[in-house]
């Protein structure tokens, strides 16, 4: 699946990275706790989260996560969007809640990210 299909499935709006929607998506991680993203994520995955601030983008950057989907209709501020543009992280926003967003993607064949318990 690519980001364009994720956008369609989640009825999402693209806030940053309209020209990068051909990026492939293999797995999904969903979490509001950035420390856990840093702790567990191993795959190159996309991140679904309700946490809207620049630290979400920084975390994505550190983990090579190339797209973030903000759920519950949340819209980031300009500072967050600017950082996403600078770091090349694609930003989508959907009105679905986190649970439904995950369910929609899962039922269309996207599995969860492999995580590591060290």
């Amino acid at each position: 699946m690519n980001l364009k299909e994720v956008k369609q499935l989640l009825d999402a709006e693209v806030l940053v990275g309209e020209d990068s929607l051909d990026r492939e998506v293999k797995t999904v991680f969903a979490c509001d706790l950035m420390s856990d993203v840093l702790a567990f994520v191993e795959d190159k995955t996309i991140l679904l989260t309700g946490l809207v601030n620049p630290h979400t983008i920084r975390t994505a950057e550190m983990m090579d996560i190339n797209a973030v989907v903000f759920v519950r209709g949340k819209t980031p501020d300009e500072e967050t969007l600017k950082l996403a543009r600078e770091t090349g992280v694609v930003i989508l926003t959907t009105r679905h809640i986190l649970y439904n967003s995950c369910g929609i993607l899962y039922s269309n064949g996207l599995c969860g990210a492999n995580i590591v318990h060290r």
């Binding site: 509001d32 706790l33 950035m34 420390s35 856990d36 840093l38 702790a39 946490l51 601030n53 620049p54 630290h55 979400t56 920084r58 975390t59 950057e61 550190m62 983990m63 090579d64 500072e79 770091t87 060290r118």
Partner: protein, 139 residues
């Protein structure tokens, strides 16, 4: 090959710049052609160290030394020091404020995460003294 050194000042409570040093370190390592898995381990360790210095300390520095066979990260702050290192190393233990938690941090995963991604990990600290963390990741 002589080693390559990077050093960044981290200011206390400066959330607007949080992650900048780690972002620059990541870019520098990429230019050196280091593999992406190793870069990610270094990036997580420096990012957690950076957040810790911003959140908990009076300010400090993060140094990265790239050698032929390893990358060494030195994170040093100017205090106030950690009272109980064993507790601080426990997953889930944090002294961060609710405001920090709202940013997605303060889950008590910072130090355990650094150790998790390190091949060698050392922390020295006591109340009234700097906290010094040394992390080595093998290439």
């Amino acid at each position: 090959m002589s080693n390559i050194q990077l050093c960044y000042n981290i200011e206390r409570q400066d959330f607007s710049k949080a992650g900048e040093a780690s972002s620059n370190i990541k870019k520098a390592l990429r230019q050196l052609g280091i593999n992406s898995g190793t870069i990610r381990r270094v990036a997580v360790a420096t990012y957690e160290a950076e957040m810790n210095i911003i959140i908990h300390s009076e300010g400090g520095i993060i140094g990265v030394t790239v050698d032929v066979d390893k990358i060494r990260i030195d994170a040093k702050d100017t205090g106030p020091g950690i009272e109980d290192i064993d507790m601080a190393m426990k997953e889930g233990y944090s002294t961060a404020t609710p405001e920090i938690r709202e940013l997605g941090f303060g889950a008590g995963m910072g130090l355990p995460n650094m150790k998790r991604y390190a091949d060698e990990f050392k922390i020295e600290s006591s109340v009234g003294n700097p906290t010094i963390i040394t992390i080595v990741i093998y290439l």
